[in-house]
Symmetry: C2
Subunit: 420 residues, 2 copies
């Protein structure tokens, strides 16, 4: 039934019936969570043998003979740089391995720029104004970092090819614009992969600010949902080099959603010049990161094939969850909302007719936690109150079914209320 | 033979003989390193069973049921906060567990203060001048952090009770003085433990700057060399609380020299108010640290007794190395230099008659690497060219014997050259 075709009386009767249904859920005291992109218990079990690959009778030296247990080796052990380089298609010479979180690396890069500038530029704390480009909808934790440092965020609309590059090219003429957040593959939350043309335009950017950097968060590089349809993303470092623009990009990756989220390894890939600059700062900050964990990851995954194999197992657990949600939406609310059908990544994004906050609040009242309204936008301001982000990976299929049904019910209720 | 009693002719003949001996070493092409406080291979082997305590058939939930493999728990799992709290004698409620490096925590605390101030104070980057008190001789990597952030370092002389507290109390009347580096137990490099009176005076400090913090790097809290003689350090957090000064101190610790240096866990202990402030910043920076490694440490050490037991094993490996150096110095150069006889920690400090740099250079020429001259002082300026830091833990006994003999030879040569 398409609510737009109903008259007021029919709508009121439908609303009453939906509210009755809604109230029945109240007694169930549900506690469901589709708010965060966390792997499920089953997914975590895929990496349990990583706990066995190192043991007490083993030599914990890495391939060049360095004892991984002791201090030293600031940029990571060779075999681990190679593994992470293979995941994001860059030579190991461009890699620095950090601790367990790529978000921390991004934070560090910005923090260092605030206090020390970038490759000799003025520290950003000494400037009157620093601005940042934020493709929207985007990742809330990115926006939180730039907000935290008092950086003015400018939303950049996204379409199915990626960010609006005309606007990006225009805005970088402003010297106070120092960077842009990108999740270029299976983007959070839209699942968009930037087109070849968009990547090439990124590589050719000539910003006024010499210390402008593209923060290329390749969080979902191997996180496909399907074997037979996978998005392709042009490799940015190589494109930048070809465009005579080698230093413009920081590319990030981690194993957070490949092995264990809290106990994985994260890396940056960048030009030799940027790498040297970063290491010069990093050597003040630490003597080195956890090489034993680097070795553990290499022993477990061995190589890119090992990673791909693992990602297929992840996909087989995740895929039915995505499909369940997509099918339920298709069956129930296709006349009210639009949504993305990603081929990878961790999210489904729903575009509502300006009822996002009301729907999310209503779901919460029944114990269904969704990501906070506005979270996909700088300062939590979704100008159209439109986007709801769903994170299908963590709950079980049964939980997803229940949560999605409540979501659907809430969408219907809020939509009718809006029509009335 | 006391060189001071010899006449010039005898001194010249002695010098010639020493130089002959020195030149013979040249052909050996030695490569010995007594420069860094690194555990030895044997010491690292003490923790190898830590590689077995977690395995694939195990439940990796911590005691409150949280899955350590997934995201979350910003301040660390309860049992690990308790373990690290026990090591440094504070309740677990005061603890935040970070990654693998306490140095990184100190860096983060200062970096955050530079960009965001401390508990609402003006960000230090916005001040004309920030100053820091540096007890000397001290830890080079501390001084490197403050130097990196452009903080003006003021040396504070140390004696066997700790820093000159009269001077500290005078200098903190200056509002631009924002902190002090302390290694209060078995200090680097002197092996000094601060007296009860010194700790109490620290706890009672009333600095002009409300954002002044004592950086209390308790790196060697359980790192005793002897069973029967152990230094005692008054617990600073409790003293500060009693003195009505609860927020003045950040206390740091890590397992770097208990388990594996690169793959341990590090923590800060501080007041509830400071902890809340730090967590509010930290939540922007990361989703959480490596909880699997936290769990691994708890499963391996179990409790404080497990830690103490491990430290006894470390001591039995390290102690002969310290004693070998001390005996060789006593037999050979007691009329030329003075040195510390620490009951714990990682260093022996030699006080020379202003020949430190020359001795260190001479050792390097024979392939014996010692910590760089001046390293124990801010800006690498040892005003008396006096201090040589020895790190006995990493080399074997045989290597130490050879390195110390070369050191002794170099001391003798440089001393005679000075006399002539």
């Amino acid at each position: 039934m398409n609510y737009k075709d109903l008259n007021k009386g029919d709508l009121k009767r439908e609303l009453e019936s939906l509210l009755n249904e809604y109230n029945e859920y109240k007694n169930l005291n549900l506690k469901l969570d589709m708010s965060r992109g966390k792997p499920s218990y089953e997914q975590l079990n895929l990496s349990m043998e990583m706990m066995d690959v190192l043991h007490s009778n083993m030599d914990l030296r890495c391939e060049d003979g360095i004892d991984c247990r002791n201090y030293g080796v600031l940029d990571g052990i060779e075999e681990c740089k190679r593994l992470l380089g293979d995941i994001i298609e860059v030579p190991k010479e461009n890699i620095i391995i950090y601790g367990n979180s790529s978000l921390s690396i991004m934070y560090d890069c910005i923090s260092t720029a605030m206090t020390h500038g970038v490759l000799g530029s003025t520290p950003w704390m000494k400037l009157d104004k620093v601005k940042w480009l934020c493709p929207v909808p985007g990742y809330d934790r990115h926006f939180l970092i730039t907000e935290y440092f008092g950086i003015e965020m400018i939303p950049i609309p996204m379409d199915s090819n990626g960010p609006d590059m005309d606007l990006v090219e225009e805005l970088i003429k402003d010297e106070s614009v120092k960077g842009i957040w990108c999740v270029p593959k299976y983007s959070n939350p839209d699942g968009t992969t930037y087109s070849e043309e968009v990547v090439k335009r990124f590589a050719r950017l000539k910003p006024k600010a010499k210390d402008f950097r593209i923060y290329w968060d390749n969080a979902y590089s191997v996180h496909h949902l399907y074997d037979d349809h996978q998005d392709f993303l042009l490799e940015i470092l190589d494109e930048c080099k070809k465009a005579g623009n080698p230093d413009i990009v920081y590319k990030f990756t981690s194993t957070s959603k490949i092995s264990f989220p809290g106990s994985g390894i994260a890396a940056i890939a960048t030009s030799p010049k940027n790498k040297e600059y970063l290491l010069n700062h990093l050597k003040v900050q630490t003597i080195g990161f956890d090489k034993v964990n680097q070795l553990r990851h290499v022993k477990f995954f061995k190589n890119l094939d090992g990673i791909k194999n693992q990602m297929k197992k992840h996909a087989s657990i995740i895929r039915p969850k995505f499909e369940l949600i997509l099918n339920l939406l298709e069956e129930n609310v296709k006349d009210i909302v639009e949504w993305t059908k990603p081929y990878g990544g961790y999210f489904i994004s729903i575009k509502t007719p300006s009822i996002a906050k009301e729907v999310i609040d209503r779901c919460r009242d029944l114990g269904v936690k969704l990501t906070e309204a506005g979270c996909a936008y700088p300062y939590h301001i979704d100008p159209n109150n439109s986007i709801i982000r769903l994170a299908p990976t963590y709950p079980t299929l049964e939980e997803i079914k229940q949560a999605t049904n409540i979501l659907i019910l809430s969408i219907k209720i809020e939509f009718i209320k809006k029509l009335l």
